[in-house]
């Protein structure tokens, strides 16, 4: 008998789950219904900024023609789920429809965090999450004028790059003492800061926003910082992190993590054995992961269970990150901040080349625990794959070969 899998949310992770189900459910045991809030099928949010760099929404789409025509997949776009009815195992949508499920997977993702500042709702304030957000930013952009980005993390630098692509002059405000504080350590932050500045992106660290100030027409005119200085800006983009979207689960009486997110076990299952949560909205063992790679891993874990095996559990989330921003390669992987007890750190700083590379090693001095690369992240794939392993002889050359031409 065919059972129904209801997936709420058609972001990257929700889509990955359905893809796995469709390719591995060889007996078509499951019919899949997807309830998607956005009017677009899943697209590549990681590459979102390329939408401002000439790519179309279709280019970003993760969904193939075959998928859309798959008779076993019922994709309901622009449909918001409003309520879970755990007794009868149905979900009600905003259009009044009710969808029954044998298994419900919540992949509702996250929303941008907008700090509670005076002026946060003024015209000219934006977030940076969806294609629609980008359309709005593009429409509001004034070429040559300053666009201020709140947040100097991964997303903030993306957004700054996005503003530049639409002709504005971005400037970044980061509360922490350095850019990308979650991924990059102090030494890497110094080099990154220099490279970002050299790339023409002004930023200020160690200072927070006090207010967003309105012009005569009620539109954004600038911001005031906690140190009292003001910055003129025509546009403000909030990129200060995301918060899990757990409301649907919350109102259905499912437990949340201490710091938000739908609480699930290592199988990504809620206390309700028919309901799972994956991706940004899930708090696996209480911890949320705001990156796509762990989300994919969760999708795999859930798919395996639906297909009859529960051997795999979600563990050891890979929070590795590698990106090229403003021409600057940055990577962070494993225990980048050397939090493991008795770990040691080996760092290379080359001011002239503008590179920083750090390895975090276990106290056996050989096992790689993590690292940070700034300026040249070409060693990232190999190093990341070595995390948890003994560094092979000559591994350090990966860090220096591009600089010294020492080939092995």
């Amino acid at each position: 008998m065919t059972r129904t899998l209801l997936v709420v949310g058609h972001g990257m992770v929700g889509h990955r789950l359905v893809e796995i189900m469709r390719s591995n459910d060889l007996n078509s045991a499951w019919r899949v219904v997807i309830v998607a809030e956005e009017a677009r099928p899943a697209y590549d949010r990681v590459e979102l900024s390329s939408y401002l760099d000439g790519k179309s929404a279709d280019d970003l789409s993760l969904v193939s023609h075959e998928f859309l025509n798959d008779p076993s997949v019922d994709l309901r776009l622009a449909t918001t789920a409003t309520e879970i009815n755990r007794g009868p195992r149905t979900v009600t949508t905003a259009d009044g429809a009710t969808v029954g499920y044998d298994a419900l997977v919540l992949a509702t993702g996250s929303r941008p965090f907008v700090p509670p500042l005076p002026g946060r709702d003024l015209t000219g304030c934006f977030v940076y999450r969806t294609v629609d957000d980008l359309d709005a930013i593009r429409a509001a952009a004034v070429s040559g004028r300053t666009g201020l980005v709140v947040g100097g993390g991964l997303l903030g630098l993306e957004a700054a790059n996005g503003l530049r692509l639409v002709g504005m002059r971005p400037q970044v405000i980061e509360m922490a003492p350095r850019l990308m504080p979650l991924q990059i350590d102090e030494g890497g932050g110094e080099i990154l800061g220099r490279l970002v500045r050299d790339a023409g992106l002004p930023f200020r660290c160690g200072v927070a926003m006090r207010s967003i100030d309105a012009g005569p027409g009620g539109e954004v005119r600038g911001v005031t910082l906690t140190d009292g200085t003001t910055v003129e800006a025509d546009l403000v983009v909030f990129a200060a992190g995301v918060r899990p979207r757990h409301e649907l689960a919350d109102s259905a009486g499912l437990d949340l993590g201490d710091r938000g997110g739908i609480l699930v076990d290592e199988h990504c299952r809620t206390a309700d054995k028919h309901i799972w949560a994956i991706g940004d909205c899930a708090a696996v063992g209480g911890r949320c992961h705001g990156l796509v790679a762990p989300g994919y891993r969760m999708a795999e874990v859930v798919a395996e269970q639906l297909l009859g095996s529960d051997d795999t559990v979600f563990s050891n989330a890979d929070t590795s990150t590698s990106l090229k921003l403003l021409g600057v390669g940055v990577a962070s992987f494993g225990d980048a901040h050397a939090k493991t007890p008795r770990s040691l750190e080996l760092a290379y700083t080359n001011e002239k080349a503008g590179t920083y590379a750090k390895l975090v090693l276990a106290d056996d001095t050989r096992t790689l625990l993590g690292g940070v690369l700034v300026g040249d992240a070409s060693a990232y794939p190999v190093l990341r794959s070595l995390v948890g392993h003994q560094l092979p002889a000559g591994a350090e050359r990966l860090l220096s070969e591009s600089r010294y031409g020492v080939s092995s």
Binding site: E345, Y348, S385, R403
Partner: protein
């Protein structure tokens, strides 16, 4: 044939005399020493404090036959024009002035301790009161009495002294005005690790505290604390001994100025060791003093030599600690654009290295707790050799095998997105996938984020070369 007169009977003077003799110096050699004992090796005073050597055991080898050494003689004046030197002491009539003629005069008076302006530390004549001593001579060592010793100043000598006294069975308190010891040699991280280490060894350490007064048996600090001190040992630096040179009208800045031939501003007068200033440097270390002695001995015996400075290496001499600093700390702290920094931080084991490299050569370094690294870096630094590419092995003193291409373990995940291990790629290879595209088709590697493309290519290249090697072996075997 010339008569050489050397003022000072310390290690620099001793070395000079030996080298003059070895180089076949013709003429007399006369040495005037202010102390009433033969030349000894000042650097080993900490070993005396440790009680591992007796004072007699640090006496240097007797000078070569024919060398006249006058002990207890204090040079008072020089007449450069007449080439004579006036001195007192030596023998029974201490006040008697003796005149020494010379053809070549060498000033090797060394340095004297710099004494802090500590209320209560001096008597009306300006001498240190009983219970306080500097540490420069064997006689100073004998002044250290009692169980509780306070060492003031945590520079290199202060740290060595504190450790030696601790090993010698004293209860040791170390007071230093800066936030961490040896701040001229160590960066903040290393300095803090050293501070922790000294405390753990059992030294009562007080950093960031100034001594403000002394009363018999007690040292007062600026925060109001009073430390019991049966003896207070002052390790608050040294100043070059330049009084004689000044009186004789020689050019003096911090030390007696000398050129590359160790010549002072007066003809036939030379200076070496702690009292000499060359190119703005008064090194205060034994290695430059010896090198200067060697150079001068060559010059005075008709050879050609120039003193061009000595690579600055500071190494703490204590079995409890491995600390070294190379070059200048400035290069480390304000790294100019051409410098690459390599740092290793292992707070758990109090190990720290910070190397500043230029063209792969060390321009400055601080190393703490890494003995093999110190040993290797000394050699690389002294000879200006490039660092090996395996810096981790260099720093940790671990031996490498063949430093070949990074060999991944078989179960290493090469493509994270699709969870493709190296083993899977190897399997695909052995199943006939010979091109990169075939490998990726078979395993889905690189089809995710694509960040592993280079890793897969590298593996592919290594498989190809191994294959070729295997094939050529077969050729040879057949």
């Amino acid at each position: 044939m010339s008569n050489v007169l050397v003022v000072g009977n310390g290690p620099a003077s001793h070395r000079l005399v030996e080298r003059l003799h070895r180089n076949g110096h013709q003429g007399t050699i006369t040495v005037l020493g202010a102390e009433t004992r033969p030349a000894y090796n000042r650097l080993l005073l900490p070993s005396v404090l440790r009680r591992s050597l007796s004072p007699g055991a640090i006496v240097l080898p007797a000078p070569p036959a024919g060398v006249r050494v006058h002990q207890g003689v204090v040079a008072t004046d020089i007449d450069p024009r007449e080439r004579v030197l006036y001195a007192t002491g030596g023998g029974s009539s201490e006040r008697r002035e003796t005149v020494y003629r010379y053809d070549e005069l060498v000033l090797a008076m060394g340095a004297r301790p710099r004494l802090p302006d500590l209320p209560g530390a001096h008597d009306t004549a300006g001498r240190l009161v009983d219970g306080i001593t500097a540490l420069r001579t064997i006689a100073d060592c004998a002044r250290i009495n009692g169980d509780r010793v306070v060492v003031l100043g945590a520079g290199v000598l202060g740290v060595e002294t504190a450790l030696a006294l601790l090993a010698g069975g004293h209860h040791v308190t170390l007071v230093h005005p800066r936030p961490h010891p040896m701040e001229r040699e160590l960066d903040t991280v290393a300095g803090q690790l050293l501070a922790d280490h000294l405390a753990e060894l059992g030294i009562d350490t007080w950093f960031g505290r100034h001594a403000v007064g002394y009363r018999p048996g007690r040292l007062l600090l600026d925060d109001g604390q009073v430390h019991l001190a049966d003896t207070l040992v002052l390790c608050t630096g040294v100043v070059p001994e330049v009084g004689l040179a000044r009186r004789a009208g020689l050019s003096v800045r911090r030390g007696v100025l000398v050129d590359d031939r160790l010549r002072t501003s007066a003809e036939h007068i030379h200076a070496i060791g702690d009292c000499a200033e060359h190119q703005g440097e008064v090194p205060g270390l034994i290695a430059p003093a010896w090198e200067q002695a060697d150079t001068l001995a060559t010059l005075l015996t008709g050879g050609h030599a120039r003193y061009r400075g000595t690579p600055r290496v500071l190494r703490v001499k204590a079995p409890e600690l491995d600390i070294a600093s190379f070059g200048s700390l400035r290069g480390l702290d304000h790294s100019d654009a051409d410098v690459e920094l390599v740092t290793l931080t292992d707070s758990t084991h109090r190990r720290r290295a910070k190397l500043a490299l230029c063209d792969q050569r060390i321009v400055g370094a601080v190393v703490l707790g890494l003995p093999d690294a110190i040993a290797s870096i000394s050699q690389l630094y002294d000879r200006n050799l490039p660092l090996p590419s395996g810096r981790l092995d260099l720093l940790l003193g671990t031996a490498t095998g063949h430093a070949a291409a990074a060999e991944l373990p078989d179960d290493a995940v090469v493509c994270r997105c699709n969870n493709v291990t190296k083993r899977a790629l190897l399997h695909a290879w052995s199943s006939g996938a010979r091109r990169v595209s075939e490998l990726t088709n078979a395993t889905r590697a690189t089809t995710g984020c694509g960040s592993c493309v280079s890793a897969v290519s590298r593996l592919h290249a290594s498989l190809e070369s191994t294959d070729r090697l295997g094939a050529s072996r077969l050729d040879r075997a057949s």
